[in-house]
Amino acid sequence: MTISKTSSGSRARTFLTRLEGPQTMGRGPAFWIAVTVAAAAAAAYPLIADAWTVGNAAYFLIWTFMAMGLSVIWGYAGVLSFGQTAFFGLAGYAYGVITLNLGAAYGLTILALVLAVVIGGLFALVIGYFMFYGRIQGVFIGIVTLSVTLVLETFMAQTAGPQWRIGEARLNGFNGMSGMPPLTLPWFGGDIVLYPGPSLYYLLLGLVVVSYLGLRIMLNSRFGNVLVAIRENPHRVAMLGYDVRLYQTLAFAIGGAFAALSGALYTAWGQYITPSSMGLTSAALPIVWVAVGGRRDITATLIGTIIVLAGFQMLTIYGSQYALIVMGGLLLVTVLVAPQGLVVGAMTLLGRIFRRGKS
């Protein structure tokens, strides 16, 4: 008995030690204290801010899932996908169709959220199967994924007629769907409806923390190590007996599922979804966040995404038309000056200063 107890205990310990590892930046007590402080500050935020600002912060958090998924696909597995918005949009529509048909009672919206993520992930799995088992590589993957999302946009934009309905839900073409219920938690003495505000914010914050820590464990596990090895040298990995295609397809599906989570949450947050969420401009957004932050590290991606989103919102106050120009400029500067990402550059610099101070 004691033996099994210690082995399960040590297994849990190995599991937790994977929170740190070669594939993720940040280790040691100082880093985890900083993470705890950041999480605590984020949790305390609704106490000092008004409901609208908190709902707005929740909006930022929604996008981080898509960014982290893209970081896994692009940064860790080395596969550039331009089509994360396809999974985002598909899941958004799926959430809308399911909730409009089933209603919001009995926690069915949570089921709709899960189903939407599964649908998005499965779609990514199918696309990934065709791409990776077809052995297309590099730039072609970018083109195929971009074409997929643009064709989905065109398809959804022409569903204006009354014949385009799934059960109760009209797809409404270019104007998109609206009026679906927000996430609702069944609770004793009445359901809790998660309108944009503190309650939704806490749910999203919890999801972000769980996803972030979960991804750290996954990336430092064997799976993550193989992904990084494939990025560095696919031939050698294949020679060592790993099925490169399988790993890439799985990574693509995981990234797609995260994009789908963003999409379903976005629909639940704003209670609408339009075809333009799958368009060219929308498809560029996750690339900008992840590239600017630093695609090869999940922490940098998370920080970068929130900084860029907040920055753009401030920018749109002064003139939304210049936001896209600044975005394009940011991409150019990042690629030419700091290809590993601005946040990664800053973090490396901080780490160097910190270490120098110690010695």
């Binding site: 297309i136 730039v139 065109t154 398809f155 120009i325 975005m327 150019l332």
Partner: protein, 290 residues
């Protein structure tokens, strides 16, 4: 007579799609096939060509000259872009996609801010002809001839001119070409400029048939990417037959089921082709002849 009518209608539809695919993908195919760079700003070079053409034509230049001006201006812009940005990214093809995307965002939004959300277009010239009671645009027939002329011209340029020989040598063995005294940097610049000029030509040729908006490049981009993916890296063995096959599929599906199924048919074809022929048509054709 009824048979002739419907055959002509089918042929016209096919030729129209074929011409559109060939003309819009030529610039992309040259840049990708020759340099391995995917130019996501392709649509914006097309837009540049179209805007210059429309402005020149309304300024009094005859249309063919205006189109030529559009192509030249787009080519010059392309060479500047290559010098400033693309040149630093030849070792990092994924980053060059990102950079060209950044350029595309800046160009679209910049034009929107400077020139407004729309621009006065120029009408379609040449009028129409009547075949068996239905009228067909004569300009579109001219475009079909242009597509064939373009393929022929590119073939002559790459296989029967000094520039073509040096360009192909630079692409295949850059170090060797450099050792033999070829200024490879200049060749890359010229090739990228040629690709951009071809995109500008596409914009100029289609300017009279389209609404002039800053996002007009996006209407070309999916079709041209699809053609290049199906065709593979070589424009003659790949892109041209790919355009023919895709035009057949799209024209057929559009005629029988409508515009949307044409588009979806294209996408399904692409996904099937990459599953079956990863190197595209050109990889397959070259593989069987070897």
């Amino acid at each position: 007579m009824a048979l002739f009518q419907s055959v002509f209608a089918m042929l016209y539809q096919f030729g129209d799609t074929f011409a559109f695919l060939v003309i819009s993908c030529a610039g992309l195919a040259v840049i990708f096939g020759m340099m391995g760079v995917i130019n996501l700003a392709h649509g914006e070079f097309i837009m540049c060509g179209a805007y210059v053409t429309a402005s020149a034509a309304r300024g009094g230049l005859p249309l063919p000259l205006a189109i030529l001006t559009g192509a030249l201006v787009a080519g010059a812009v392309g060479m500047v872009v290559e010098r400033l940005v693309i040149r630093h990214l030849y070792q990092r093809p994924l980053d060059s996609i990102i950079a060209t995307w950044g350029i595309s965002l800046i160009a679209t939004q910049g034009v929107l801010i400077v020139l407004g959300s729309t621009m006065q277009g120029i009408g379609t010239p040449l009028g129409s002809i009547d075949v068996g009671g239905r009228s067909y645009s004569l300009y579109r027939l001219v475009l079909m001839a242009c597509a064939l002329g373009l393929l022929g011209g590119l073939y002559l340029l790459f296989y029967h001119s000094r520039f073509g020989v040096i360009a192909r040598a630079t692409i295949q063995k850059p170090q060797m070409a450099y050792a033999l005294g070829v200024n490879t940097g200049r060749m890359y610049g010229l090739t990228f400029g040629l690709g951009a000029a071809l995109a500008g030509l596409a914009g100029g040729l289609y300017a009279p048939t389209m609404t002039m908006v800053p996002t007009m490049g996006a209407t070309f981009i999916v079709e041209s990417f699809v053609t290049v993916v199906v065709g593979g890296a070589d424009i003659f063995v790949g892109a041209a037959p790919a355009a023919a096959i895709l035009a057949l599929i799209k024209a057929g599906l559009t005629a029988w089921y409508g515009q949307l199924f044409g588009q979806i048919g294209l996408l399904v074809t692409v996904i099937l082709v990459i599953r079956i022929l990863p190197g595209g048509l050109s990889g397959w054709l070259k593989g069987t002849t070897r």
